[in-house]
């Protein structure tokens, strides 16, 4: 059984595996970086550490004017950093092998796979792509 956390970005629903997530925080004060690229909102003081926050809708190229008050702090192997998203959904459990790999030509580069849950389409986010996109944003 895989536990997944679905969340809303723009008009679409994405998900991350629970194992990649350290904590969910809300309404924390985000301190802006002095001269950061737009995709990076700033950083939070999280358990005594400075943890950068990435605006996920913006990073994925959605037209994002929203505030994104919900932060998903990723597990330590990623950074750590937090992804800001619009809205969170309750956890769901999926059987192993819930993702079919065959339709890979159609999906976006940041999607690891697409699956259906209660007649809704959910895309599993590819964190490797997200990391690479952040790197590009930081360096340019």
């Amino acid at each position: 059984m895989n536990q997944l956390l679905p969340f809303v970005v723009g008009t679409e629903t994405y998900a991350l595996e629970l194992i990649d997530i350290q904590e969910i925080v809300e309404n924390l004060n985000i301190y802006p970086f002095p001269a950061a690229p737009e995709q990076i909102s700033g950083a939070i003081a999280f358990h005594g550490r400075i943890v950068p926050v990435v605006n996920l809708p913006h990073l994925l190229g959605f037209n994002a004017e929203s505030v994104c008050p919900r932060l998903i702090v990723l597990a330590n192997k990623y950074g750590p950093f937090a992804l800001a998203v619009d809205q969170l959904r309750p956890l769901i459990g999926m059987e192993k092998g819930f993702i079919k790999d065959d339709d890979s030509t159609l999906k976006q580069p940041y999607v690891r796979g697409v699956f259906a849950w209660r007649e809704e389409m959910i895309s599993l986010l590819d964190l490797k792509y997200v990391e690479a996109a952040i790197e590009t944003a930081c360096i340019s």
Partner: protein, 617 residues
């Protein structure tokens, strides 16, 4: 015997003995008949020999044994000659190289050539005379030749460099054994290349021959044999190490503090159980004192004195004096000043370079001179200064060169004060030396010095008087983790600037602002400095006019500037957290910190902020 278990201990102790040996040798250079020093030197060599023999490091033991024998002769004779000191120093160098071999788990290099080339015993004196020419070069060459570095730069016109580099890398294999290459073969195959290839090669062929054969390839633009990398790595090895040696006194302090913390915990638990608020209050007060103390002590563990670095530099001066044939006196002061280990490591290359500069340029036309190496503490900064009593920097020569190189216009050159002019020598590629010698070319390295020092949050100040000498001062933070910062505010956001980067924080009235074209200037100390608006640099909205103007005077890219901020908030000591990659690449930000009230703030990096703006324009 379980060798691996004792190896680290052996390496650490042997390194200490070697450092002691080179320190004594340098002292003996000025006082060659000091029997006590010769005796001490003998004992150090004897200790190394004994340790190496126990550990069954044969070559190390053989070499140490030879040094011990030679010193025994000196001891009986009661003095040591300058040549002997040089030979001993070369022996110490070779021992260091052997320790490096042991550390890297390589077989020890052969020491035969040293044993054959040198020898102080009277019987071998004739031999010594005839083989003297070999002493310099021959010392390092063992049966296996020393690896060399070969760097190849392809012409810009080569459209796809990867296949060419692959061919060249293969060709290198014909000259001898390729030990390392940057980029590696795999990287070349995946096309991660930029037309430059650096190869570490063990070859029996002389460099000229390799050069000649490589030069036959038409795409090759430049072939060089850099030597710097290997030697500077060796320099560092003395200071660097994965483990830290902590004095037992400091450890005892830490243990005592932990003991007190445990006691306080019981007090607090007790007070809580009995609901005695007064005791609870006392306990918390005590706890915060202890935590503060503990924090201080833990930081102390990272602090090391400048002693090892200074003795390294004494050795550099000694070697330079020998190669240049000048009589150079080195005066050191403040070697006991303590500073964060990581900072000391960063200081090795810059200071070596500054000393070379002082000898090569400052004392250029002189037979003798004095170099002063001084360190002192000023509140929470450490200052390290290299002063020579040589020729000084000629401001006119710099003015002329700055015009020629197109760095400044004629009017700018005239307006620039001498002090600001000197900072120009830190610009990449700026050299006033007509002939760049093998020791150094001023300007080739000063930009590297500046980049390194500013990278650790410090500042380079250059001062010179023509005919009297040059003095270069490094202003450094005590620790990389805890630093003092100036808090400022811009458009409601608080930010911090490390204190070593701040020359002065001042308030000026609008009437003191002058304008030249679009550029606003203010008179500070004895010159006009340009004003930069932080809001503009951060793309924040303009501040409504009114009242006095807060300025932070700092130095960016060698020039003094006045940074206009909304408000100067105050000074504070903060614990800096580096951002994890790739966030550390964001320009303008050195790292972050969390203030006592839980607020997160960032450390401004003016240099990278300005560079980015320049690029954007």
């Amino acid at each position: 015997m379980d060798k691996a278990k004792y190896r680290a201990m052996f390496l650490a102790e042997a390194a200490e003995h070697l450092q002691a040996m080179s320190e004594i040798l340098l002292r003996l250079d000025n006082d060659p008949e000091n029997r006590q020093e010769i005796d001490a030197l003998f004992r150090e060599a004897h200790s190394i020999k004994g340790m190496a023999a126990t550990m069954e490091y044969q070559e190390t033991a053989r070499l140490a044994h030879r040094l011990e024998d030679d010193l025994d002769l000196c001891r009986k004779r009661g003095h040591i000659s300058a040549d002997e000191i040089d030979q001993m120093l070369a022996g110490v160098d070779l021992l260091e190289a052997l320790l490096e071999d042991i550390k890297e788990d390589r077989p020890e290099r052969n020491v035969d050539s040293y044993l054959q080339a040198t020898g102080l015993s009277e019987q071998r004196e004739v031999e010594l005379q005839s083989s003297k020419t070999e002493v310099g070069g021959g010392l390092c060459s063992t049966n296996d030749p020393q690896p060399i570095l070969v760097q190849i730069q392809l012409a810009d016109t080569v459209p796809v460099p990867a296949p060419r580099l692959l061919v060249l890398l293969k060709r290198m294999g014909d000259f001898g054994t390729v030990l390392n290459s940057w980029p590696t073969q795999e990287q070349i195959l995946t096309d991660k290349v930029n037309g430059r290839l650096l190869v570490q090669l063990r070859s029996h062929q002389p460099a000229e021959q390799i050069h000649a054969q490589l030069a036959t390839y038409s795409e090759v633009e430049e072939i060089s044999f850099p030597e710097h990398v290997a030697s500077s790595n060796q320099d560092r090895s003395v200071l660097k190490g994965a483990s830290v040696r902590v004095s037992t006194e400091r450890l005892d302090h830490l243990i005592n503090l932990t003991g007190e913390l445990i006691t306080t915990r019981y007090q607090l638990q007790n007070a809580l159980k009995k609901r005695q608020w007064r005791d609870l209050d006392d306990g918390v007060g005590q706890l915060s004192q202890l935590v503060k103390n503990l924090h201080h002590q833990v930081l102390q563990v990272r602090m090391v004195s400048l002693q090892a670095l200074f003795s390294r530099l004494s050795r550099t001066v000694h070697d330079l004096a020998r190669t240049s044939g000048k009589k150079i006196e080195l005066q050191t002061q403040g070697a006991d000043i303590e500073i964060d280990r990581a900072i000391v490591e960063e200081l090795v290359d810059p200071l070596t370079h500054m000393i070379r500069n002082a000898v090569d340029h400052g004392l250029k036309a002189r037979e003798s001179g004095t170099i002063r190496l001084k360190a002192w503490r000023d509140r929470d900064q450490v200052l390290v200064q290299v002063t020579d009593d040589g020729a000084g920097i000629d401001p006119e020569a710099i003015r002329q060169l700055a015009r020629q190189r197109g760095l400044l216009t004629s009017s700018q050159v005239k307006a620039l004060r001498d002090y600001d002019l000197y900072q120009l020598i830190c610009q990449p590629g700026f050299s006033t030396s007509q002939a760049v010698t093998d020791i150094s070319g001023r300007g080739v390295g000063m930009d590297v010095v500046k980049t390194t020092i500013e990278g650790i949050g410090g500042l380079v100040l250059i001062d010179s008087n023509l005919g009297e000498g040059t003095s270069i001062t490094l202003k450094l933070p005590l620790s990389l983790a805890i630093i003092r910062v100036l808090l400022i505010e811009s458009d409601g956001a608080r930010m911090a600037i490390p204190i070593p980067r701040v020359i002065q924080a001042i308030e000026v009235s609008p009437t003191e602002i002058h304008s030249s074209g679009k550029q606003l200037m203010v008179y500070f100390q004895d010159a006009f400095i340009p004003l930069l608006s932080l809001r503009k640099m951060l793309n924040q909205p303009k501040k409504p006019q009114g009242g006095s103007i807060s300025l932070v005077v700092s130095e960016v890219m060698g020039r003094r500037v006045g940074l206009v901020v909304d408000r100067l908030v105050g000074q504070q000591e903060v614990f800096v957290q580096r951002l994890s990659p790739p966030f550390d690449q964001i320009p303008g930000c050195h790292g972050g910190t969390i203030l006592g009230d839980g607020q997160g703030i960032f450390l401004l990096d003016l240099q990278s902020l300005l560079e980015r703006r320049k690029k954007a324009v």
